[in-house]
């Protein structure tokens, strides 16, 4: 049995049947990290020693009957922008290189309450700004399917670690596609929940009206299970939705009879890699066989969404990142002349290139004389995009698009062309603008063997429908049985 290839629900089954012990599982993952991390470099901080110790303690407590719990002893990896008490939270930035949060993020607290074992903090684009994880201050992360390709981003470390079997599942965050796009590039499942479903307390803010934490997993069942753990109303986040907690695994049905799937023609064609379009069209044929009805719809807002997204996200970021002032969060420049100089020098030397670019863009669109033309107009376009999606959901239950117009690109391929990097987010950003839930599931590979992701978008708080659609398709596609990362160079 190859332990690290198992999904979490398979691990649970083996634990239940006493075929495996908790310490055996942790040991298998620690060994796997020791073997693969040098090639993939998915972590900022590994906690292998701590995890080993914790696994023994949890095992003892379970044996003595002190604790129970269906997830006790299951390992996880956490994106390095979620606060973990006592363990560094760097956001892959020099600014927070030595920052140790004095509290746990709510999502992390919920993980800890289940006695899930944290194997480490995962690499990302600095402050979650980017789509390739090349903007990490520490190091790049490499795509397990081809080590010359990017894993996507910004949750590239999370997606690559899951794909490389270094963690069984991981938490990521998604502001404009940062869970779904790396999941697509790495052949795993990534879910961005409805805005407000998962508390953002303790998630280092990038764009507060768009950010959302979600699961990155090997399959759809694990996605539903991890979502079950992290959802729930939280007083510490005023945008947290006060709705009843659901069991999302109940939505995992093998058919989609009567489901109407909307296909927006504007998300296909020009700019979309032919194999991506081909595989998604093939998936739509599978859906017909599973009982769904395909409805062609129009959503002529993709480009407006992208422009609006970058205006709003950068505006919010320029404000959110104001707190990094050289006073409270570990980094301070060595020599300075007065307070202003301290601010400027500390920020200029500790923020990376992409972060500075976005702060400048965000400050520009908020500045006197440009606010109405850019920021206010973008907020109006946001209303327009929401109206268009509301109209679309009058005609269908879920919407299917590519997750990304292309498969993973080469390392360095878009690094010197920020606009081209931004344009790769065209299929994912409207989901953040509207606050809707979206899931990316693998639907095949391209001619070079790189995974292709299909995005399923649902209406607000209708995670069940997208999970149902994703699960039903996964049972016939059997991606994990047919395709595996090769770690080729």
């Amino acid at each position: 049995m190859n332990i690290t290839e198992l999904t979490v629900h398979e691990l649970q089954e083996k634990l239940k049947n006493k075929e495996l012990t908790i310490s055996e599982i942790t040991k298998a993952y620690v060994d796997r990290i020791n073997e693969k991390e040098k090639d993939v470099q998915a972590f900022v901080t590994t906690l292998t020693e701590e995890a080993t110790k914790q696994s023994e303690e949890i095992e003892e407590k379970i044996n003595s009957g002190e604790i129970k719990g269906e997830f006790a002893g299951i390992p996880i990896g956490i994106k390095d922008n979620m606060c973990t008490k006592g363990v560094k939270t760097t956001c892959s930035s020099k600014m927070l290189e030595n920052f140790i949060a004095p509290y746990d993020a709510t999502a992390v607290k919920k993980i800890n309450e289940e006695n899930i074992i944290n194997l480490g903090k995962l690499n990302m684009d600095e402050f979650a700004m980017g789509g390739s994880t090349e903007h990490s201050y520490f190091h790049k992360t490499y795509n397990p399917w081809n080590l010359n390709k990017v894993p996507g981003g910004s949750s590239g470390g999370s997606a690559a670690a899951v794909a490389a079997n270094m963690v069984p599942w991981a938490l990521g965050s998604d502001t404009g596609g940062s869970i779904r796009q790396p999941a697509s590039f790495c052949g795993v499942v990534g879910l961005k929940p409805t805005y407000g479903l998962v508390s953002r307390y303790g998630l280092v803010a990038f764009a507060s009206s768009l950010d959302q934490i979600g699961p990155i997993t090997k399959d759809v069942r694990d996605s539903a299970m991890l979502l079950n753990i992290i959802t729930g109303h939280d007083e510490m986040d005023t945008t947290s939705a006060n709705i009843e907690k659901k069991d999302y695994t109940k939505a995992l049905k093998k058919d989609v009879k009567g489901m109407k799937i909307g296909v927006p023609k504007e998300f296909y064609g020009e700019g979309v890699q032919p194999e991506v379009e081909e595989k998604i069209k093939a998936a739509l044929e599978e859906y017909k066989k599973l009982g769904a009805e395909i409805v062609e719809i129009s959503l002529d807002v993709a480009e407006y969404s992208l422009a609006t997204y970058y205006i709003i996200a950068c505006a919010e970021a320029s404000s959110n990142l104001g707190r990094f002032d050289g006073v409270r969060y570990t980094h301070r420049a060595k020599d300075y002349n007065g307070l202003w100089d301290l601010y400027k020098k500390s920020r200029s030397e500790a923020f990376g290139d992409e972060v500075k670019r976005r702060i400048i863009l965000g400050t520009y669109v908020l500045s006197s004389g440009y606010y109405d033309a850019y920021y206010k107009k973008a907020q109006q376009v946001r209303t327009l995009v929401m109206n268009k999606f509301n109209e679309a959901f009058g005609k269908c239950d879920v919407i299917i698009t590519p997750t990304s117009p292309t498969t993973a690109f080469d390392i360095g391929g878009k690094l010197n062309d920020p606009l081209s990097m931004y344009k790769a987010d065209i299929c994912t950003v409207s989901v953040n603008i509207t606050g809707l839930p979206g899931i990316s599931v693998p639907c095949g590979v391209d001619n070079d063997g790189m995974p292709i992701g299909m995005q399923i978008i649902g209406n607000r708080f209708e995670e069940e429908k997208i999970l149902n659609a994703a699960y039903a398709y996964e049972q016939v596609e059997k991606f994990r049985e047919n395709h595996k990362p090769t770690f080729k160079k």
Partner: protein, 94 residues
Amino acid sequence: MQVSKEQILHIANLARLNLKEDEVEEYLKNLDEILNFANIINNAPTEDLGITIGSNEEKNVFRKDEVKIFEDRDALLENAPSKENNMFKVPKII
């Protein structure tokens, strides 16, 4: 060029960033390209549409204004690059 060198230096100052000469050139070029692209929102039919600041429906969430003691003050101050007497320390301002 939509943005001048003076403007970008003004913006950088507002954002408390120092830009090196080569950064000024690069960011000017980037900003120009990105704003040129972003200008497509001017074609969006938004007449009579209100603004959206967030996607959730709740507007104001109130709680009691109570003082709560954060227990782990030491852990918080542990992150201060400079501190004195349990406080963050900054250079003299007045």
